[in-house]
């Protein structure tokens, strides 16, 4: 019984593993690498999100009294500039179909506070 079960198990494994290889290959089987433009957009989105998160943290720290208004203003200004630069760069070139645009993301301090 053990041997029969083992053979059946091995057969099932071979079928499961071989299944994707048995169909005819198509042109879509090769995954296109991320091109430089897409990689740059990804970097911009990360930069935007990082700066937005930092602005959110700053706002929270101000509200909870960890930093004063003056420190908040000093630290927030370059972060806002980073967000603006990232958004401007993202909006300057059209995103591929299906890809979110820059405005899908929270872009204002009010939105950050809501988040």
């Amino acid at each position: 019984v053990g041997v029969v079960l083992l053979v059946a198990l091995a057969f099932a494994v071979v079928v499961a593993v071989a299944m994707p290889l048995l169909r005819e290959p198509t042109a879509g089987d090769r995954i296109a690498p991320i091109d430089d433009a897409a990689r740059a957009r990804l970097q911009l989105r990360e930069d935007r999100d990082e700066a937005l998160a930092a602005l959110g943290d700053l706002e929270f720290d101000r509200r909870t009294g960890k930093i004063g208004d003056q420190d908040h203003a000093e630290l927030a200004t370059p972060l806002r500039a980073r967000v603006a630069a990232a958004l401007a760069a993202l909006e300057s070139e059209p995103a591929p179909p299906g890809e979110p645009t820059a405005v899908d993301q929270p872009t204002s301090d009010a939105a950050i506070t809501r988040e």
Binding site: M19, R30, I34, A38, D57, G98
Partner: protein, 668 residues
């Protein structure tokens, strides 16, 4: 059925090698068909390993002693729960458990990433296949659970120390912790191989790391409680090599959990995070190696074997591989930003990282020094508790302080004025508390006074954090205080779950310091009617009682307990004797008797050392102050970790949008 079990393991080895080779080929050639085939191999690996598990578990439950391992670790009289425990009592069984958890984790990773991480997943498949290959090789070549023999009438039974309810959950919990560290490691290596050194791999494995960390923590706490109630020396942590083996990856994983936040928020510490995740995984393999190699003398070294060289080789691969990849990808790992101030949250994270890693390596040195000394210097030495306690105090106290400072300090930069405003009250109350403790006579342990003062500091600092956060939330939405607190935690689970975890560590420290610094112990031989006095307790020895259990005989010394003239009841520490088939000598275990006083938080703890023919007994009595706060801390730890790891749909949507342009490996 042994044939099926053996065959399933050979098949599992073949599938793991296939996943490694074809996963890597798919990643290099960017071929969806190869990638899909490797992914199916991951699922197949889980199915085949489950078949091997079923065969092994079936043999245990059927008392099929023709399986050598089953006869060595179970018997016909073993209760059902401990029959399950015997699955992982042997080396082969525990390695099978390792492979099962790994295969299940790998399958879960495939399932949850089927529509994301197209660039990383083929490499993740290959790396997890490689790790599975190592463990399947061990099971096929060095430690098979399916070796057979002529069946004896009964088995040798389970090691008596393992016959404890905690042992049902302790090893699987630790193994879940050890094994799931493979997932962040695999993603990290995949990121280096694919040249994706952005935050993608960290975002994808954040919860896996938390889960690993949580299970390692739960495993250690369950083990500590097992040691406390079962091993019978009155403590819960002995700095045993195998305990240390679980502590080291936990310390490094804790450092990693903090440093990933710096990478996510500031794009810094990229190399450091790769090093941490590699070291944490290497230490998890080292922990498995220590438990199973018999290299070091340990209460946990239930078996010794020849798998040591395999593990040494594998650990070398884990350390050398990432080193080469880091050097290769160094240009991509350069930090994008600089730290703005040493008085900032990210700076406290950096300091805590140095302390965590320093402590982990101090413990590692303590574990390995006897081996190094014996083999290189020919000198047999042991590293004892004072060595470890020195480093635990030296690194632990600053870490405790940072637990209060970190959450309350601002990101990026904090001014001295805001520091005074933030820490003025916690510091003043903590200082007052320290002075009060000294005045009350607790200055006998300066480290204890400092630790308790810091516990007060951390608790108040975190309490203020919750209050300020809830106040800000309330100001924003106008809801009630409880709702504001609930919303605050729900909307910032990672942050406030982390703070609750910090509070759990405070409770753990209170329990540990209470027992270690302010405990009392006394050993005495008594005849019936004799009285033992310890602090305000009086214990009167009445008689020796003999009883029989399901698979043991018990001998207990009965004491009546009074405190301040009030009778509190009886307490009976015992020895149990488990008959072993074919052996004239039974296995003995100590059954400590513990009387918990919840109001005081202390335990009266009795261990029966020996019983003489004249009816006299020798007992060891301990009073462990605040030890129960430690177990309460364990529950809070689980609560904090669960909140921190709980999925957040808003965050998931944000991440999905950010990485929407990634290619998908797709369903071929």
């Amino acid at each position: 059925m042994a044939t099926l079990g053996r065959g399933a393991l050979v098949l599992a080895l073949g599938i793991a090698i296939y996943a490694l080779v074809i996963g890597a080929a798919g990643a290099i050639r960017r071929d969806r068909r190869l990638i899909a085939s490797a992914r199916n191999a991951t699922y197949a690996l889980l199915a085949v390993v489950l078949v091997a598990d079923a065969v092994f578990l079936g043999a245990i439950l059927r008392h099929d002693f023709s399986f050598t391992v089953v006869s060595e670790t179970s018997s016909r009289t073993l209760p059902f729960g401990y029959l399950i425990t015997s699955f992982w009592a042997s080396q082969a069984g525990s390695l099978l458990l390792w492979v099962t958890v790994l295969a299940a984790s790998a399958a879960l990773v495939q399932r949850t990433n089927r529509r994301s991480n197209g660039e990383l997943m083929p490499w993740v498949t290959a790396i997890l296949g490689g790790i599975s290959t190592f463990f399947c090789t061990l099971l096929v070549v060095a430690a098979s659970p399916f070796e057979t023999q002529v069946a004896p009438p009964d088995g040798a039974g389970l090691n008596t120390s393992l016959q404890n309810p905690y042992m049902v959950a302790h090893p699987p919990s630790l193994y879940l912790g050890y094994v799931s560290l493979a997932i962040p490691f695999a993603f990290c290596m995949a990121a280096l191989l694919a040249g994706r050194t952005d935050a993608r791999w960290i975002v994808s494995t954040r919860r896996w790391t938390l889960v690993s960390w949580t299970f390692l923590g739960i495993g250690m706490l369950l083990g500590a409680h097992w040691a406390y109630v079962e091993v019978g020396w009155g403590g819960f942590w002995a700095w045993d090599p195998v305990e240390n083996a679980a502590l080291m990856p936990w310390l490094v994983a804790t450092a990693f959990l903090h440093s990933v936040m710096v990478q996510e928020k500031k794009g810094m510490l990229k190399v450091w995070n790769v090093v941490l995740v590699s070291v944490a995984f290497a230490l998890s393999i080292f922990g498995t190696f220590l438990t199973r190699s018999g290299l070091l003398s340990s209460i946990h070294a239930f078996v010794s074997s020849n798998v040591g060289f395999w593990f040494v080789g594998f650990i070398a691969v884990i350390l050398i591989g990432p080193t080469i990849l880091i050097i290769w990808r160094l240009p991509l790992l350069r930090t994008e930003h600089r730290m703005e101030s040493l008085i900032s949250r990210e700076a406290t994270f950096l300091f805590n990282n140095l302390l965590f890693v320093g402590l982990a390596f101090a413990v590692l040195w303590g574990v390995m020094y006897p081996v190094i000394s014996k083999n290189l210097l020919g000198d047999e030495v042991t590293v004892t508790t004072p060595f470890f306690e020195f480093f635990a105090v030296a690194f632990g106290l600053p870490l405790l302080a940072l637990m209060g400072i970190g959450p309350a300090i601002a990101w990026r930069r904090a001014s001295l004025r805001s520091l005074r405003a933030t820490f003025g009250i916690p510091f003043a109350v903590a200082t007052a508390c320290g002075v009060l403790l000294v005045l009350l006579g607790y200055g006998t342990s300066p480290a204890g006074v400092v630790a308790y003062s810091l516990c007060v500091f951390v608790t108040i600092a975190i309490g203020i954090e919750f209050a300020r956060g809830a106040s800000a939330r309330r100001a924003l939405s106008g809801v009630s205080w409880p709702r504001a607190l609930g919303e605050l935690i729900a909307r910032n689970r990672r942050r406030y779950g982390g703070y609750i975890a910090h509070l759990s560590i405070v409770l753990l420290v209170i329990g540990i310091v209470g027992t270690m610094a302010y405990g009392t112990q006394h050993e005495q031989t008594l005849r019936p009617g004799d009285v033992l006095a310890i602090r305000d307790y009086r214990l009167t020895f009445t008689a020796v009682r003999q009883e029989s259990g399901a698979n043991f005989n018990e001998r207990a010394a009965v004491f009546t307990v009074t405190r301040g003239g009030e009778k509190l009841g009886t307490i009976a520490p015992a020895n149990r004797f488990y008959p072993i088939a074919g052996s004239p000598d039974p296995q003995r275990s100590n059954e400590a008797a513990i009387r918990t006083d919840w109001a005081r938080g202390e335990d009266l703890f009795l261990i029966l050392d020996s019983v003489r023919k004249d009816g006299s007994v020798t007992v060891k009595v301990l009073i462990n102050p605040l030890v129960n706060v430690l177990w309460l801390g364990a529950l809070v730890f689980v609560l904090g970790a669960t909140i921190a790891a709980w999925p957040d749909r808003r965050e998931a949507r944000r991440i999905a949008r950010r990485y929407a342009e990634e290619p998908l490996a797709g369903e071929a």
